[in-house]
């Protein structure tokens, strides 16, 4: 309902002097089911905006953000996009959910207007993609890739042969699961089960009992946060043991997962886009700044919003004018180092204008996320095999 109410509203952030400012358009979710992620984005934008304007703004002008709330609805996001186009912004960034960003990307491609994606992960946003859509964050398939890289490392000491996948049936979870399926085949794992579940499901026991009967070496889970907690609790309850438990989506990498699942979260390896421990300069400082802006534990979504805004400011600084083609060319030539990671847009593996930044893997150890694997390799020891539930 909320998303259908057909509403949007403008939040104007103005920092510093508002004379001759440059507006940047943003669409994300402040209300509706994705509101929590919009709040994370807001923290990232605030930190980046302060940094940009403190460094003299863009082309000598102070930057202002025109932020539209899409109320977690496709229809409202499209209305917001149309409105932003009329507000004299040179570039637009958006949105949280892939189901919202997909139609937005289509729209801006048709309008031939530069659009920067910073959180949405569906492969389809940049594959096939278009000349006008740029993405700084990792596509869904890479969530699975990093975890399969971890399996490769672990195989030095453990024999991992079979894998069972459980995933939600949303766009993003589905894409990660599909990637896991093809990677299993490509890298020689036996996929013994792949089961999807509908949103709002609360009883995972039948699925987990099915897995138990097959005793897979790897249990591969793709879920949002609420489900992540319920799944791990029921994994313990059903006594499903495996050598490796991985959670390949947002749900397992959020602080809420640790709070809700507590001791059952232990040993779970998750894929995440960014942590404070990544090997990029300033990551620790960024974490602290985001923490302050959000007032609580920031997630990688905040860092993505931060890096997205920096990318836009960088491209605008290099562009001689504010017409769409010029900005598009400037974006295409981006080569930026940020505390989120390096940002450049290339075409590879069927992706277009996609930043090839790698994912990071972390493991829950003693009730906290520990970064264990980055593009540099193993950075902290990975605990494996996971002890059976009886012996914990």
């Amino acid at each position: 309902m909320r998303r259908l109410a057909g509403t949007f509203f403008v939040v104007l952030f103005s920092f510093g002097v508002a004379q001759d400012t440059l507006n940047i358009g943003i669409i994300t979710s402040f209300t509706g089911r994705f509101a929590e992620f919009g709040a994370q984005h807001r923290a990232g934008f605030e930190v980046a905006l302060a940094e940009i304007n403190a460094n003299g703004g863009v082309q000598g002008r102070q930057v202002e953000l025109v932020i539209e709330d899409d109320t977690s609805s496709q229809q409202t996001a499209l209305a917001a996009a149309e409105k932003l186009l009329s507000r004299d912004v040179p570039i637009i960034m958006g949105a949280y959910s892939s189901s919202i960003t997909n139609p937005l990307a289509q729209y801006f491609t048709r309008q031939e207007f530069p659009f920067l994606v910073f959180t949405s992960s569906a492969d389809s946003i940049t594959s096939p993609g278009s000349d006008w859509v740029f993405r700084i964050n990792q596509p869904a398939a890479t969530y699975a890739e990093i975890l399969f890289d971890v399996f490769g490392i672990l195989e030095a000491t453990e024999s991992l042969e079979s894998i069972a996948v459980v995933h939600g049936n949303g766009t993003f979870e589905n894409a990660v699961a599909a990637a896991a399926e093809s990677l299993s085949e490509a890298r020689g794992y036996e996929l013994v089960e792949i089961q999807s579940y509908d949103q709002g499901l609360t009883d995972f026991r039948p699925i987990l009992n099915r897995f138990k009967a097959k005793s897979p070496d790897i249990v591969f889970m793709v879920s949002y946060s609420a489900d992540a907690v319920a799944i791990m609790r029921q994994v313990k309850e059903t006594g499903l043991s495996a050598k490796v438990f991985v959670g390949a989506a947002a749900g397992f990498a959020l602080p809420e997962f640790l709070e809700g699942a507590q001791e059952v979260a232990e040993y779970v390896i998750t894929a995440t886009a960014w942590t404070k421990d990544v090997n990029f300069e300033g990551a620790g400082e960024l974490y602290a700044a985001l923490m302050e802006a959000r007032g609580k534990e920031p997630t990688y979504h905040a860092a993505q919003a931060y890096a997205g805004l920096l990318t836009v400011a960088d491209a605008l600084n290099r562009a001689e004018s504010l017409d769409p083609e010029t900005i598009q060319r400037a974006l295409a030539e981006t080569d930026l180092r940020t505390s989120y990671g390096p940002i450049r847009f290339t075409d590879f593996n069927g992706y277009r204008n996609q930043n090839p930044v790698k994912m990071v893997a972390e493991q829950v150890q003693d009730g906290a996320f520990v970064t264990v694997f980055t593009q540099e390799g193993v950075v902290n020891p990975i605990l494996c095999p996971v002890p059976a539930w009886e012996s914990r």
Partner: protein
Amino acid sequence: METAVALLQNISGGILIGGVYALVGTGLSLIFGVMRVINFAHGEFLAVGMYLALVGHAAFGLEPYLAMLLVAPLGFFVAFSIERLVLSRLVDSPEQSTLLATLGLALILSNALLLLFGAEPKTMYVSYATATVNLGRVTLSIPLLLAGFVATMIILALYLFLTKTEPGRAVRATAENRLGAELVGINTLAVHSVVFGLGSLIAMAAGFVLMPLLFAIPTVGAGFTLKAFVVTVLGGMGSISGAIGGGLVLGLAEVLGASYLSTGYRDAYGLIAFLAVLLLRPEGLFGRTIKRV
């Protein structure tokens, strides 16, 4: 042998989940039986129960089962007032009016929760969340067993209330024949309010017992409303004992379907059973013949 154990495991899982469904369905069935109102806000009361449990736990460190007893009067009062304010004005309106009013109430309740608690899922950590007990080689969840116990107690209490007490008899008289009840001096409007309060309170109780197992989001109710409909139609609308049977059948259908067919269609199994019963045996699987077509 392994398959036999797995089957037993699945059947017991279905029965335990079914117990929770039965509890949710009982409240809806009670309301329908007496008021002839199809309450689309039923699941939202369950959500309210979840958040009440959450608040009790976070603010006072209360166990959800204990908190349930403490906030029950408050929950009853909320539902009672809603009936007084809205539904009691619609007693003589066409049934579609009450249906719409409850849809409106559902929107109001879930969005009030959204405003108060935000959109992100909330979980509650209790030490026994994953505790189990083994029966032979079958593993049973202790919170689910507790939920089943609470459900049994509540349904038993409701049964005793309806059959052994004077107000309970007034409720049954109203359900049988509202006009007749009026004639023997029963204030049927008051009975309606009380019944709506009780039925909604039962939904809230289901929210309490589910909280240690699940998570609360403001929109969690809609799915349970649908489940409650399925349960009551399977068991026979307005029949309390039917709701128990309906809950167990739904639990078994879902768990067995998900275990031996595809899990993606899990919700469909219940819905297909629901349609089949609605069309082939409209009085419910266990009910006596009542005409509803």
